[in-house]
Every structure is written in structure tokens, then in C-alpha cells.
Amino acid sequence: MLNEMIQTIPQVLIDGLTLGAVYAVIALGYTMVYGILELINFAHGEIFMTGAFIGTAILIVLTGIGWVSAVPAIVMLITVLLLTAILTGLIGMGIERVAYRPLRKAPRLIPLITAIGISFLLQDIVRFIAELKKGNFIVTGPSLFTNQLSIKASSISSIFNDASIKTSFVIVLVTAVIMMIGLDFFVNRTKWGMAMRAVAQDRETASLMSINVNKVISITFFIGSALGGATGVLFAVQYGTIDPYIGFILGLKAFTAAVLGGIGNIRGAMLGGLLLGVMEMFASANLTLLTGGIFGAEYKDVFAFAILIIVLLFKPEGLLGKPQLEKV
């Protein structure tokens, strides 16, 4: 039994990391917005979904005019990523403007209502457009990367099986890491990043430092949503098929990941995402083995949530979160 588990580990790890990378980058968006506004932006999952659709639409259009075959896939990907990021970034900014800004002084949980409202709106609007254009809201985009690489894990040790990966996996992972490092640098090393952190801690005082708080919050939403949208593109590239309802579950998982890593913490979001992905993949591949068939793959979320709860019990602020000791 153990043998079987170990054999599949390289593959499980790779699959888990792919999924985890997607969780992680979505989690970054949650964490950023949360870090500044203490607002769980429940519409973030839908922004991710919108990004996936925008990206796919751009790809389809570009394919239509024969661009895709003319340029290398990677150039193509970067173009689509950037375009989508800008568009979803703008959408995010707009959402903040309409649905969150008027509620800054309202009780803390009220923006939750508008967030849910926005989610429903985005889902249906995207669905309308997709159905109008394609007659079906489940959309499969052109695939950019189809190569399979094989990792000879068995050459490391014979207890491992070989693993295969899509080239897109490498691209997803690399992009995700670049995004995280970029974001980390931006927030911790640049003046605007510092302004964001200042706004997060004390908006009023930040405005006394000549910081235009509204602008900073807009920028935060822009970046968070741009990341979300870009992740949507990565997702579409990796999994091929999207529908207007992908945002809900993925958003939920990503939010969980953000909390697991310590919400508000950028590296935490990354760690939480990757961990959650690997955990889930491990559970669905091995739970049956581990429990002798009593609990199967369908319990993978129970497994993941149980671990989350256990982690929070021992480290209530998440893995990388700093304990928020209230000075009494």
C-alpha cells in the first residue's frame, strides 16, 4: 500500500502544484484586498472567471485573424495575459467604485452583500455574452501548449513512477511565481506598496501623509483584479474548458488557501495555495488506500478543511500570519 502511494508521489506532487499555483494566485488577490480593506472580496472568484472568458475570447479572436499560428505561443500568452489583466483590473476598479466605496463607513459585513450581488451579476452577464456569441456557455478555447514532458522520476529512485506534465504546467507555475515575487517586491519595496500598507493600517492618518487613499485603494483593486484575471487566463490555458460558474468553487478554495497561509500575507497566500493544491491532490489519490476503502476521493475536501481547521487551532493566524496581539 505504502509502495503504491510512494510510486505516484511525483505525479501527485506535480498535479497538486499545478492546481495549487492556480489557487495561490487567486489567493493573492483575496489577500491584497483583505490586507487593505479588511474586506473579503467575495466577487474575486468571479473576476477570475471573467478573466478566463476575456482571455479565451481574445485568443479566439486572434486565432480567427491567424495570429496564433504566426507568433510563438509564449508571446501569444504574454499578450493575452497582459490584455486580460488590464481589462479585469479595470473591472475590479469599477466594482470597488460602485459597490464598495459607498459602503466604507457601513458595518463591516455589508460589503459582503454587494459582493454577492456583483458575483451574480458577473456570472449572468458573462453567461449572456457567451451564449449570445457561442450559443453555449461552456467554452473551450484554442490550446496553446499541448506538449507533454515526461519527468523520469524513476531514474532518481526506482520507488517512484515516472510523471508526465504538460508544458503549460511549467508556464502556469513560472508565471505564478513571477507574479508573486513581483507583487511581494511591489508591496514591500516600493513607495506605492508602502502607501498601501499604510492605508491598510490607518486610512485617516495615511491621508495626512499626502496619500490619496481612494487612489491607493483603486490601485489595490486594479492589481488584485488584474492578478485574478491573469490567473483566469492561466487556468483556461491549463484546463482548456471554462464556464461562468468556475469562480465560485475556485474562489472558495483560494480564499481558504489565503486563510491557511495567513490572510493579508502575500507569501502566506502562495504557500497556502500550493499546500492546499497538493493536499487535495494527495487526498483524492490516496484516501482510499489510506482508509482501506472506507473514505474515498470524495472526502478530499473534508480532508483539506480538517487540516485547515487543525492548523488554525494551533496557529489561529494562519501559517505565515503574524499573531495580531491586541495591546491591552
Binding site: E38, K105, L112, I113, T114, I129, E317
Partner: protein, 433 residues
């Protein structure tokens, strides 16, 4: 104009007359126009009007009781739409009770709970399993399904089991704070749902995803409860009990300690409020209402399956609380009623109407925009508008107003710290605003 309005505001008589006329007109119109949702809603909103009158509490309760127990069912009963109104009214009652339960947890104790529907599920399954043959899969003794008479005991049972689960969930709560709590409860809710969805193996307890069909209907004095118009009364009774209980708690030592914990944990502890116990109590009591309604729901649907207990459901209940006004009992009642009626009746009717228009060719809509699919969109829009225009909730929470005169009087007869036996406390007249 303004003075007239002010006069009106102070005059009980005027209130009474206006209300009476209103109720008469709306019930008459419901009586006459049986398919009219508008009339039905108008009659329901007489309760809202009633809430704004300055009658004594007892009077208000009496009038509300008459409207709900007699007038509404009677006037609606004359036509075909009767059962569908009662179905909506029953579901409204169920959601109100749940929202009131969640309001204790979120609104009063300030604990963000995103897995609240789990308790509802627990209640529903408790009855569903024993009121069908399902229980014989794992219970070697006893004959199942239990008879419909057992339903009444199961209401209490569901209440207790849900409270127990509330405490179970509460235990992690002791350490986790704020939005972390949200995710822990969310996880808990999902865990419960997934477990119910999979407990057909190794022993078939919940029948898994297939759900449990043909749940025995409740039975009283040889009468089976089959129709919404019958369940309506069960729900009404439980709901009254719930409101009554919540009101009691709200203005008691326990209710105050919930709010104190919400406002400032550290100060609350320093004032002798035990954090753990207080929070657990909020979870348990909040859960118990859901548990009871879960039992009713299982009996009403005659079918229990895990898809009724998704995260979206928890979020919906939370939105009811937020929309109505966190911590405000009347607000939450209104919020739950508005959300449920919107979702189940108004939106369906609107889209049906639009649909007829488009089918009869009055307006032409591309298929992708078919009105039948627009419910969620409209719902989303409404949510945003509500939140933007009533950010404090429809009826924001208010503190109890104490009458200074009475307190002063009372003080005259007591020495600081020691209340004398004969202090005429009964006179203490507490008003709600």
C-alpha cells in the same frame, strides 16, 4: 402637512383606524383577486405597518397573531393560489427562524458564521432518517419508519441535536477569531454536507446523494399534515416560540453578554463574562432554531438530500441577517421575509410575466437573455441596491430605551447596591423603539 403628520404619529386612534382600513382593504383584495401576489404582499406588509405604530407590545402581538393565524390563511384560502401562498409563507417562516438563529451568532455575538445551514441539515436528517426506513440500515432494534406522531417529539430532538452540533462547532471557535472564524465555520458546513453526501458507505445512514424520499408526514389526532396550509401552522407556532425566546434572551443577562463579547472581548472578560461559555451558548441556541426548522423542512419536502444544504444556502441566510440589520430582531425578520418572497415568488412571477410578453411577441428577447434565466441577475441587482441604500439594514438594530423617570423613582426606594424588597419594579416600563 408636517404638523398633520406629527399629529398622526402621536395619535394611537389614527394609527388604529389607518391600520384597520389597510388590513381590510388588503385582505379584501386578496380575497377577491386570488392570483394577485400584490394583494398577498400588501396584506403581509400590514405587519410592517403594525410594527411602526405606537401600540403597546401586547396589542401589536395580538393584531399580528390575528392577521397571521386567521386573516391571511382565510382570505388566501378562497382561491387556487392558496397552497402556493402558504408554501411561500411556510418557507418564509422557516427562513425567519433560521435567520433569527444566525442573528444571535453573527448579529449579537459578533461571530461570523458561514456554515450555518449545517444545523438545518442536521435537523432535517434527524427526522428524515428516522421517519423513513433508512434508520433500519443501522438500527438493529425498533421498526422504521417511525409514525407521523413522532414528528412532534422530533422537533425537540432536532433542536437538541442541532444545539449539540453547535457546541461541537463552537469548540474550535474558542481559539479562532474574526474572519478566520468565517472560514472555520465554512469548512465545518462543507464537512457536514460532504459527510451527509457520502454516508451511504460503509453503512448506509443518509442514503448519500440519492437522498431520502417519502418522509412520513406529521400526524396529529389522526390527521396527516400534507399541504403547506397545514405546515404553515406548525411553522407559525415554532416561529412564535423562536421570536419570543430571542426577545427574552436579547434583553437578559445572556443577551447583554453576547453583545458585550461582540463589542469588546477583553472588556467583557474583565467584567466577568466567560468568553467560551457565552460563545458556545450563542452557537447552541442559534443552531437549535435551525434544527427545529430542519425537522419541519424534512417533513414538508418529504425528501431530504444534501443539495438543500450548500454553502450558498448559508450565505443566503447570512445575507438575510445583514440585509435586515445585524442584531435587530424585527430587521432580521423583515430581511428574511423579503429575501425569501423575492426569491421564490416575486422573481418567479416577474420572469413568468416577462416570458409571456416575449412569447406573445410583445417584446423580443434573444434566447440568451431569456427572462426565465434572469432571476439571479435581478436578485443580484436588488442586493446591491439594498445594500447601497440601506447600509445599516432595513430596520437597523436599536438599543432598548429605559425610562429615566421610572429608574429615578425606583432609586428613591433603594439604597445604592441593595434593592429593597418592595421596590415597585413592576411599574418599570420599558419601551422598545
Amino acid at each position: 402637512m408636517k404638523t398633520l403628520w406629527n399629529k398622526y404619529k402621536q395619535n394611537k386612534m389614527a394609527h388604529g383606524i389607518f391600520l384597520l382600513i389597510y388590513i381590510c382593504v388588503s385582505s379584501l383584495s386578496l380575497f377577491m383577486a386570488q392570483r394577485s401576489v400584490t394583494a398577498f404582499l400588501l396584506l403581509l406588509s400590514s405587519l410592517l405597518l403594525l410594527y411602526f405604530t405606537n401600540f403597546k407590545n401586547l396589542t401589536k402581538w395580538l393584531i399580528a397573531g390575528i392577521v397571521l393565524a386567521f386573516l391571511l390563511p382565510f382570505t388566501a384560502s378562497q382561491g387556487d393560489a392558496y397552497q402556493s401562498y402558504m408554501e411561500v409563507a411556510t418557507l418564509v417562516g422557516i427562513y425567519i427562524a433560521m435567520a433569527l438563529g444566525l442573528n444571535i451568532v453573527v448579529g449579537m455575538a459578533g461571530l461570523l458564521d458561514l456554515g450555518f445551514v449545517a444545523f438545518f441539515a442536521v435537523g432535517a436528517y434527524t427526522y428524515g432518517i428516522f421517519a423513513t426506513a433508512q434508520a433500519s440500515n443501522f438500527m438493529p432494534f425498533g421498526t422504521f419508519p417511525l409514525s407521523g406522531e413522532s414528528f412532534w417529539i422530533f422537533i425537540i430532538f432536532g433542536c437538541l441535536v442541532a444545539a449539540l452540533f453547535g457546541i461541537l462547532l463552537g469548540i474550535p471557535v474558542l481559539r479562532v477569531k474574526g474572519d478566520y472564524l468565517a472560514i472555520v465555520t465554512l469548512g465545518f458546513g462543507e464537512i457536514i454536507r460532504i459527510i451527509f453526501n457520502n454516508l451511504d458507505r460503509p453503512i448506509n445512514i443518509t442514503n448519500g446523494a440519492m437522498g431520502i424520499p417519502s418522509v412520513t408526514p406529521p400526524r396529529l389526532f389522526g390527521i396527516d399534515f400534507l399541504f403547506p396550509s397545514q405546515f404553515y401552522y406548525i411553522v407559525l407556532v415554532i416561529l412564535l416560540f423562536t421570536i419570543f425566546t430571542v426577545r427574552r434572551f436579547e434583553h437578559s443577562k445572556i443577551g447583554r453578554s453576547w453583545k458585550a463579547v461582540r463589542e469588546n472581548e477583553i472588556a467583557a472578560q474583565a467584567m466577568g463574562v466567560p468568553l467560551v461559555r457565552t460563545k458556545l451558548m450563542a452557537f447552541a441556541i442559534g443552531a437549535s432554531f435551525s434544527g427545529m426548522m430542519g425537522v419541519v423542512f424534512a417533513a414538508k419536502q418529504a425528501f431530504v438530500d444534501p443539495t438543500s444544504f450548500t454553502l450558498l444556502e448559508s450565505i443566503t441566510i447570512l445575507v438575510m441577517v445583514l440585509l435586515g440589520g445585524m442584531g435587530s430582531v424585527p430587521g432580521v425578520i423583515l430581511g428574511a421575509a423579503v429575501m425569501t418572497i423575492l426569491n421564490l415568488q416575486v422573481l418567479t412571477e416577474i420572469t413568468n410575466w416577462l416570458n409571456q410578453l416575449s412569447m406573445s411577441g410583445a417584446i423580443s428577447i434573444p434566447d440568451a437573455l431569456s427572462p426565465a434565466k434572469m432571476q439571479r441577475l435581478i436578485f443580484g441587482l436588488l442586493l446591491i441596491l439594498f445594500a447601497l441604500y440601506r447600509p445599516q439594514g432595513l430596520l437597523p438594530a436599536k438599543n432598548r430605551i429605559y425610562d429615566e423617570k421610572v429608574l429615578q423613582e425606583g432609586s428613591g426606594q433603594t439604597v445604592l447596591g441593595i434593592a429593597t424588597e418592595q421596590s415597585q419594579n413592576e411599574k418599570l416600563n420599558v419601551k422598545e423603539v
